[in-house]
């Protein structure tokens, strides 16, 4: 399935709208005092790459997974996570490689009808590529580059604080020739109450 530009525009525009809805002073302070770091969510997702471009003329995307943690921040929520994905070579002269995207993110969750929550945010991080190449020296086996992108998630509570969700995300890897990837993922997350001593440290 090819994901076309209008789809990105949609994700972008939804995020821009969120930024435009800048919090008022009182609103921000209200959250900072009552909600920031109150809970933390951990989740696991299975991901698949959905777009096709020049990059895919050389590599076939396999499947991957993503682990993340998310906490309410002074406004919105912050995320930290890692996304792991394997790309198989299409040509024997070109090695396959494994990617690890360590990211930090921020976003805002909006409640929708039917208990559905809609999260939109952005991420930045280190996109590491580990090449399966025996002919290069050890220092060149791994290369890392800045990765940044957007994410959007719909989630639904299935049991107490356990939620299932579907997400779309877009990553631009700022290599000399930019790598642009979009993913769809499904997964689950669980929300815990933050122990007081951890909240105390984080505040």
């Amino acid at each position: 399935m090819n994901i076309k530009k209008p789809f990105f525009l949609f994700i972008c525009s939804s995020n821009i709208i969120l930024f435009v809805l800048t919090p008022g002073k009182n609103e921000l302070h209200a959250q900072s005092k009552t909600q920031a770091f109150d809970s933390f969510k951990i989740g696991l997702k299975f991901i698949t790459n959905t777009n096709r471009n020049t990059f895919h003329n050389y590599w076939n995307p396999e499947k991957g997974f993503e682990c993340f943690a998310e906490m309410p921040f002074y406004y919105g929520s912050v995320q930290a996570g890692v996304h792991v994905f394997l790309y198989n070579d299409k040509d024997n002269d070109i090695p396959e490689f494994l990617t690890r995207y360590f990211y930090l993110g921020w976003g805002k969750e909006l409640p929708l009808p039917l208990k559905i929550n809609w999260f939109n945010g952005f991420r930045v991080g280190s996109y590491q590529m580990i090449f399966d190449d025996d002919e290069i020296n050890e220092t060149q086996i791994m290369e890392s580059e800045l990765g940044a992108g957007l994410s959007s998630r719909l989630s639904y509570p299935v049991y107490k604080k356990l939620m299932v969700g579907i997400s779309v995300s877009y990553i631009a890897v700022f290599t000399y020739k930019k790598v642009e990837l979009t993913f769809i993922s499904v997964g689950a997350d669980y929300t815990f109450t933050t122990p007081k001593w951890i909240k105390d440290i984080l505040e």
């Binding site: 002073k25 921000l28 302070h29 900072s32 020049t54 990059f55 050389y58 590599w59 002074y74 406004y75 790309y87 002269d93 070109i94 090695p95 490689f97 930090l104 930045v124 280190s126 590529m129 090449f131 220092t139 290369e143 890392s144 580059e145 800045l146 890897v173 700022f174 290599t175 000399y176 020739k177 790598v179 440290i201 984080l202 505040e203």
Partner: protein, 656 residues
């Protein structure tokens, strides 16, 4: 004779009984950069503070070593601005290159920085070309530990495309940099020690080939290690400090007369003490002395180039400060002796200089304050006279008008340029197939400066400052080169002609506006403009290499105490480097003699945790990935990010 006459006049002025106001007036015009501003901006290296210096224009070739011009006081050709740590002069300049990253401290040891952009006497020095004065943090009581780890990366690596027809070269990686500092402080004394490591890869496409060819290594790398020790005590009715430091850098020194970077090992050692005794409630005696060495040694290179040069310096300064109900004055004397060590045969391997100076501040009325200073410097048998006069008029409770006039002569011996060494027999260039000629004799230069500044506090949350400047220079010397591009070695070459006796005038102005929207959100705006008004052709050509317009707009947002966001939009107009004109054509478009204007957005965020014991910071530079170059043959600094973690464990243990 002149020297004695001027000194007599100065002493007479000091003894004049003038009407005075009750309060002291701070005459030193400066920009202060605090540690909070440094942290907000996510800065990771000491040299990064130049990016916050409003009135300074900077350039860099590799992104690690920066050159600067302070408020129109010099061009890029003479890097003669001064550098101090806690009142001690740091002589790290090597052949007109002052790399702030060579200081033996890390950025998290800084408490605040004074950027002096107007000639005046500070800590026994006359700042005719500007000064950066770094004040380090005084340790908290008890045992403390501070540590920092930073890592950065510039975008534009080939990534997986290196296996395809889209392959490209790897670009700069920044760090990882580390620093550790341990200190112990009691009620009246403290000691502290620090260690810093920095790594930088000068591998941008514009400089990679030059560095790779000369070093013979695929991944040219700059390594820096430094150590410092600091101790202080309050005793004898005063404060006394010892600072010692050592820096070792494996560097690529861009040596323009040779047209390329040369791998070098650079060593800097410094040990100094300074402080004051209070004689009575009106008189203090200040003292400063230091010993330093600055050494360049060979680092492996295919041409076997070896600067083999060491400069040893001993410095002593004694100053008497006196306060009265009518005036505040200082008078001082200082002495410098330098020893040169090299394999090249020098005409003279030791050299001395002495100076005597004085300053008087007084208030004619409650609203009118004045300051006069004079500084006489003797280099061998040459006298250089320097002086400054300031008038500060408090128009009303919100407005102030300041005018500053200065005149300074500068002996050739005050510079640490290659040419001063070459004239003394240091023939590195001739020994390595280079050469130079001097047209006209290099004599004492003169500089006259005028600055007029109007400051107004509009209300409690906003202030404005407007200034105009004029500079007149006479008897300057400039390097004149018509660089040719060597496509095989990817470097530049040209015979060097030193053109002496040059003169010219510079004019400009600036506007600053600060506004605090809310207690959480503030903004600062500045615009500065400087240009050569007239002068000899080479003077005007050299000033073309400095951007005329500089704009900065900074937003600071502190929504809560432990989290902040910072953004700076900066604009630097284009500059033209005439000596690269022919080389640019020969390089087939790889280089250009014009550095284009650039509008750059930087953004940073920081979060404190564990009751301000741990700080995480993320900085993005050049977010819109514009072409950001500072030098015609320098790196283009694309979108890059810096991440740093800092741990501040203050007062972990205390004997009480």
């Amino acid at each position: 004779m002149k020297c004695i006459q001027l000194l007599t006049i100065l002493l007479l002025i000091i003894n004049l009984q003038v009407k005075a106001g009750d309060k002291w007036h701070d005459f030193s015009e400066k920009q202060i950069i605090t540690i909070d501003m440094i942290r907000d901006a996510g800065l990771t290296r000491v040299a990064d503070i130049l990016l916050l210096a409003n009135d300074w224009i900077v350039n860099t070739i590799d992104g690690f070593t920066w050159q600067a011009s302070a408020n129109g006081l010099s061009s890029f050709q003479r890097q003669t601005w001064l550098l101090m740590i806690d009142g001690q002069r740091m002589d790290i300049n090597i052949f007109d290159i002052t790399n702030l990253n060579m200081l033996p401290i890390s950025i998290n040891q800084i408490d605040y920085v004074e950027i002096i952009s107007i000639p005046q006497i500070i800590e026994g020095e006359f700042t005719d070309k500007g000064l950066i004065h770094i004040h380090t943090v005084r340790p908290e009581a008890g045992l403390s530990y501070h540590g920092r780890l930073t890592y950065g990366n510039e975008t534009g690596d080939p990534g997986p495309y290196r296996y395809t027809e889209f392959k490209s070269k790897n670009v700069d990686r920044i760090g990882a940099d580390r620093s550790n500092e341990v200190s112990f402080a009691g009620k009246k004394q403290y000691i502290g020690a620090s260690q810093t490591d920095q790594v930088y890869y000068p591998t941008d496409a514009a400089i990679y080939n030059r560095n790779q060819i000369i070093s013979g290594k695929d991944y040219p790398r700059i390594n820096m290690s430094s150590y410092s020790f600091k101790a202080g005590i309050n005793a004898l009715k005063g404060e006394h400090e010892l600072f010692a430091g050592y820096t070792f850098v494996e560097d690529f020194l861009f040596f323009k007369p040779y047209g390329r970077e040369i791998p070098v090992k650079s060593y800097f050692t410094h040990a100094g003490v300074n402080g004051f005794f209070m004689i009575n409630d009106k008189t203090d005696i200040h003292y400063r002395c230091k010993y330093s060495t600055n050494r360049l040694k060979k680092r492996a290179n295919i041409f076997d180039l070896d600067f083999d040069r060491e400069l040893e310096n001993v410095y002593a300064n004694l100053e008497v400060d006196r306060r009265g109900s009518f005036y505040q004055s200082k008078i001082g004397i200082r002495f410098d002796r330098s020893y040169a060590h090299t394999k090249y045969q020098l005409d003279k391997d030791a050299y001395s200089s002495a100076a005597i100076y004085g300053q008087l501040n007084y208030s004619l009325t409650d609203n009118l304050h004045q300051s006069f200073s004079a500084f006489l410097r003797l280099d061998n048998d040459k006298i250089a006279v320097k002086g400054q006069a300031t008038n500060s008029w408090k128009i009303n409770s919100k407005q102030k008008l300041i005018s500053i006039l200065s005149f300074s002569q500068r002996n050739f011996e005050e510079d640490n340029s290659y040419w001063r060494w070459a004239e003394n027999g240091y023939n590195f260039l001739e020994a390595n197939s280079g050469g130079y000629s001097i047209i006209g004799g290099i004599n004492k230069s003169q500089q006259f400066t005028t600055d007029i500044i109007w400051k107004a506090g509009i209300n409690k949350t906003s202030s404005i400052e407007i200034g105009a400047l004029y500079r007149f220079f006479n008897n300057l010397y400039f390097e004149k080169q018509t660089l040719q591009f060597d496509s095989f070695m990817e470097s530049f070459s040209s015979p060097v002609q030193i053109s002496a006796g040059e003169k010219g005038q510079v004019g400009g102005g600036r506007i600053r506006f600060n506004y605090q929207f809310t207690p959480q959100l503030g903004q600062r705006f500045f615009y500065s403009f400087r240009t050569a008004i007239s002068g000899d052709d080479i003077f005007q050509d050299v000033w073309e290499s400095l951007a005329r317009h500089k704009i900065g707009f900074t937003l600071n947002y502190h929504p809560v105490e432990n989290f902040s966001m910072w953004a700076m939009l900066s604009y630097l107009s284009s500059s033209n480097w005439i000596e690269y004109q022919e080389a640019a054509g020969q390089s087939g478009g790889k280089y250009s003699s014009t550095v284009n204007e650039a509008m750059i957005l930087d953004m940073a965020a920081q979060k404190w945790i564990w009751h301000k014991r741990i700080r995480g910071s993320l900085l993005f530079r050049n977010i819109f990935n514009q072409l950001q170059k500072y030098h015609p043959n320098g790196a283009s600094l694309e979108l890059r990010f810096h991440i740093q973690a800092e741990i501040l464990l203050d007062s972990i243990w205390s004997p009480e």
